[in-house]
């Protein structure tokens, strides 16, 4: 695969950009995500996560078993602000 190939479809981040982050000294998925924005888009790394893990493992000569995914945070799907603002609890219903 060529370096100018897109890896993160959402943020349109290439393999070259991910490699640059690794050269910079970053070693974890979370760090690479922050540096490159790969996995910070609408899908939150659902599509590219595994591809980035592969590149990170290869470039740092680590086995894949040493590369953990990014810190998992809510929401696991996009949730509209209006929906989050409308939190129905028992108190409201009573």
């Amino acid at each position: 695969m060529k370096d100018d190939e897109l890896i993160c479809r959402c943020e349109e981040i290439t393999q070259a950009e991910i490699k640059e982050a690794i050269k910079f000294g970053l070693k974890t998925m979370t760090e690479v995500k922050r540096f490159t924005r790969a996995g910070m888009g609408l899908c939150q790394g659902m599509t590219c996560g595994r591809l980035v893990m592969g590149i990170l493992a290869r470039e740092t000569n680590q086995p894949l078993s040493e590369v953990k995914p990014c810190t998992s945070r809510p929401p696991v799907r996009p949730v509209p602000v209006s929906v989050l603002a409308n939190r129905v609890t028992d108190d409201d219903q009573n």
Partner: protein, 382 residues
């Protein structure tokens, strides 16, 4: 008392330098950068990677107007003025926005009255140029805000930046100046000589020989201070934030609490919570932040939240920085504040002044790191 001394013989010295800066967040990176620029040999150590802590979870404001007392506002303002110079020096785009000033919205009459009174207090400083805006003036600056607002406090000196890009730009700057960056090195103790002077720092990777140690540990700085017997009067407070999907820009002006960043995402902040190192997200915060965002920018209701994160902010008990030397531990300096992003620039200058020149022209008397320490006051401590 110094557990470190006993370990001195067994722990291998892995590096020797003039200054060890602990904590590779915005504050630590800036200090390392300034020291290196002024000719010091510096090692920047972090228990994780660069910016792994609070610097990545900050709202990214470069702000001064509402910080009190006015002398503290002045410190922030001076730092804001240093930012563009540092950015130019670093030669990188960190999305610094200072050309439109910054606004803090008043959603109620009460907000307006309070902010107006605050602005009046800040005018004791000749540097303060903030003023209250009418709703119409706000809409011109910030078309996306609610038509229900009562006004805003605006200051030409307020702005924002991308805190992640800022840290990485500083790290690159440090690297160019030869700073040794040591990641995954957690500080476990300090090596002090007979006169209590710093001669080394113990880390999980080994001992680093040094003349100076700078505690820029942010929310975790209290622990690093306890290692030399000093209590800072600092606690960690969780702050949570929501990030929306990107949308076309309707809020081009930096704004406190909720801001639209240049690539279109809304950063919807931010909670101020109690004491503790718990940094997970909560359901309550999601609701509160979303409600607040809609009040400020009603169209945000239609956007989706793609990330909800929490960070730990260092909270000094009186809100003011801990900045300066610990006289009874020669060579040990502290640089911790609540406003780490804004103040990172001037913290770098101040600490480098103190270490290189022995004094600084910035007034720091109010920020004595020992002001809460019962044991550490004065010479009697030893």
């Amino acid at each position: 008392m110094k557990a470190g001394n006993q370990r001195a013989e067994v722990v291998k010295t892995i590096h020797s330098t003039e200054v060890v800066v602990i904590g590779a967040g915005a504050v630590g990176c800036s200090i390392a950068y300034w020291l290196a620029k002024r000719g010091k040999d510096v090692a920047l150590v972090d228990r994780g990677g660069p910016g792994a802590g609070t610097s990545m979870a900050t709202s990214g404001l470069v702000w001064s107007s509402y910080k009190e007392p006015y002398t503290y506002m002045e410190l922030n303002l001076r730092s804001s003025l240093l930012w563009p110079k540092m950015v130019e020096e670093l030669g990188e785009d960190v999305e610094l926005r200072q050309d439109r000033g910054g606004v803090k919205l008043c959603l109620t009459e009460e907000d307006y009255i309070n902010l107006e009174a605050l602005a009046e207090r800040q005018r004791r400083s000749p540097l303060f140029k903030g003023r209250m805006l009418s709703p119409q003036e706000v809409f011109e600056l910030q078309p996306g805000v609610s038509r229900q607002i009562v006004g805003a406090l605006w200051s030409p000196h307020d702005g924002d930046a991308n805190p992640i890009k800022w840290v990485f730009a500083l790290v690159r700057g440090c690297k160019r100046l030869g700073v040794k960056i040591m990641r995954d090195a957690e500080v476990t103790g300090f090596d002090l000589d007979e006169s209590n002077r710093v001669k080394g720092v113990f880390t999980s990777r080994g001992r680093i020989e040094t003349e100076y140690a700078v505690n820029a540990g942010g929310a975790w700085a209290g622990r690093l201070a306890e290692m030399v017997g000093v209590t800072l009067g600092l606690y960690a407070s969780r702050g949570q934030m929501l990030v929306s999907e990107p949308a076309p820009i309707v809020c081009p002006t930096p704004m406190s609490i909720l801001r639209q960043v240049p690539d279109g995402h809304f950063h919807m902040g931010v909670t101020y919570e109690g004491e503790g190192f718990e940094a997970s997200s909560t359901l309550e915060a999601a609701e509160q932040l979303a409600k607040n965002a809609i009040k400020m920018v009603p169209l945000a209701r239609n956007l989706s939240v793609i990330r909800h994160f929490a960070g730990l902010r260092p909270m000094p008990r009186d809100g003011l920085p801990f900045l300066g030397p610990i006289p009874h531990v020669p060579g040990y300096y502290v640089a911790v504040s609540h406003s780490g992003n804004t103040l990172s620039a001037i913290h770098g200058k101040i600490i480098s002044d103190l270490i290189v020149d022995g004094h600084t022209d910035v007034p720091i008397a109010d920020y004595d790191p020992l002001r809460f320490d019962e044991r550490g006051k004065g010479e009697g401590h030893l």
